[in-house]
Amino acid sequence: MLDEVIKDLEVELKELIADVSGREVDEITTQASFFEDLGIDSIKAIEITVAIEKKYKIRVKDEQVAEITNVAKAIEVVKDALAKKE
């Protein structure tokens, strides 16, 4: 079940981040920094967390909110939360 969910996680998260930030999906690479490369500020970063929680029905810890600074980190946080849900 978990494997199925995370299979398309990267694609889904890129789409979600593009949707919230207004950037093109192609610009959002896995390692691109929200702040330095994509011009996403701390306000949009929180909106991304809100959207992630809603989509995956997970709870991101307070300290993880600031850690979600690129797609790779977002995948890590979502995987971690989904695993705990299982």
Binding site: I46, V50, D62, V65
Partner: protein, 432 residues
């Protein structure tokens, strides 16, 4: 509960970096007597860390005309330790009661008490625990310390300080100084505590649990608090809080506190008291998302402000001036600007907006009450202190701030606050 009872504020007792006592405080605000100092914390001569904060000058609890024996009893209980935050609370209550002209010297004074603080006694306790642990760990006479011996030695030394962190003892101490025997309560809703405390005091009076009530809140910056906020990335290392600004970089602590006296309009008029304003009502909403991050996109803060208006029988257009939290942290400022813009979206012109943290710093558990004190004095004097340090508002924020000290006839004002843990609150005051 007699909701027809009109509740008014008849005493204000502020303690802050701009001044102590109502008049000094207000003059300090008008003349912008900002006092930001660098606090350096040393451990055995080694610099641990340093931070700027708005420091209270020349504060001495012995200078407030409080009976020495009563202060001595508190010191005795605290084993000689002076808890500055507690002293601020006592002084704030004293200043507010004196300002109100109420006689509190007898046991039948009919006064209720509501105190607020985010972490009273916790920081000195933390230092004590750290000191004890360090002493025991470096005790060279003992080559081995069993866990039992360590815990046992530790427990005996810090038990009393630990007990005091539970705050009921401080409620006891403050009540005892002022012969208060009516309903009393300690409140902690983080930065919004002061606004919860005002509503609580009004309910205590309306439910006739006390004829009148004094509310007080305080805070004193400590390095442990600074380290936490620093690690959260929301402390301004340059010591300049810049609310809603393009270049804002976080909050700056402020020491001190505030006291206020509430009673019924009828009682106040009967005894010819100075009435600063009527407390019309408060609105509250608990977001319930995260402790340290606002849920951008939620409407929790809007609900608090809208509820405050409803409970006060007001419409958005009735508000002349709003004083938001204004901490100078991008996401929180954005969250506030969005909420205010939505609540007052159909109001033309929108109410004026100003913020006070650049004057007195972020007083944590007391911030909302201390800033309410400024707001009440602004209302009384028809002068709006401008928002300092915001040369350019962040273009993402739909907000316009008062940029110049302004004389304007004010009738109804709102104080709002979005606190950690999502405690969103707003209250309104109106001239009588």
């Amino acid at each position: 509960m007699d909701n027809r009872q009109r509740i008014v504020i008849t005493g204000i007792g502020p303690i802050s970096s701009v001044g102590i006592g109502r008049e000094n405080f207000w003059q300090g605000i008008l003349k912008k007597k900002i006092n930001v100092e660098l606090e350096e914390c040393y451990l055995d001569g080694e610099l641990w860390d340093k931070f700027y904060y708005h420091k209270v000058k020349d504060f001495d609890i012995n200078n407030f005309g409080i009976k020495k024996a009563k202060l001595a009893a508190i010191r005795d209980w605290k084993q000689g330790e002076e808890i500055i935050d507690l002293n601020y609370l006592i002084a704030a209550v004293k200043l507010a009661l004196d300002d109100s002209g109420l006689d509190y010297n007898n046991d039948d004074n009919g006064i209720g008490l509501v105190l607020a603080h985010e972490n009273l006694g916790l920081m000195p306790f933390g230092f004590k625990v750290s000191d004890l642990a360090y002493e025991m760990l470096i005790d060279k006479k003992k080559t081995e310390v069993s866990k039992k011996d360590f815990y046992d030695g530790f427990y005996k030394k810090f038990l009393k300080s630990g007990y005091d962190v539970q705050t009921f003892a401080d409620l006891f101490h403050v009540a005892r100084v002022f012969n208060i025997h009516e309903y009393s309560l300690f409140i902690n809703n983080a930065c919004a505590s002061g606004l919860y405390a005002l509503e609580t005091a009004s309910q205590i009076i309306r439910s006739k649990q006390a004829k009148r009530a004094v509310v007080a809140a305080s805070d004193h910056p400590d390095i442990y608090k600074y380290l936490w906020f620093r690690d959260l990335g929301i402390y301004a290392k340059d010591g300049i809080v810049k609310p809603f600004a393009k270049n804002s970089n976080g909050l700056v602590f402020g020491a001190g506190g505030a006291g206020m006296v509430l009673e019924t309009l009828e009682d106040a008029q009967k005894r010819g008291a100075t009435i600063y304003a009527e407390y019309l009502g408060g609105g509250y909403d608990l977001e319930g998302w995260k402790i340290t991050v606002p849920q951008i996109g939620s409407n929790s803060y809007q609900k608090a402000m809208t509820n405050a208006l409803k409970r006060s029988n007001l419409k958005p257009e009735d508000i002349d001036l709003v004083c938001p939290h204004g901490v100078g942290s991008g996401p929180i400022d954005y969250y506030e600007s969005k909420a205010i813009a939505e609540v007052f979206s159909e109001t033309d012109p929108r109410p004026l907006i100003t913020t006070f943290k650049p004057y007195v710093g972020h007083n944590l558990g007391s911030t909302a009450l201390l800033e309410s004190a400024i707001l009440l004095l602004a209302l009384q004097n028809n002068i709006i202190p401008e928002t300092l340090n915001c040369e350019e508002v962040n273009s993402r924020f739909d907000i316009t701030l008062v940029q110049k000290q302004t004389k304007k006839k004010l009738k109804t004002v709102m104080k709002s606050c979005c606190a950690f843990a999502g405690f969103n609150a707003a209250v309104t005051f109106q001239k009588v």
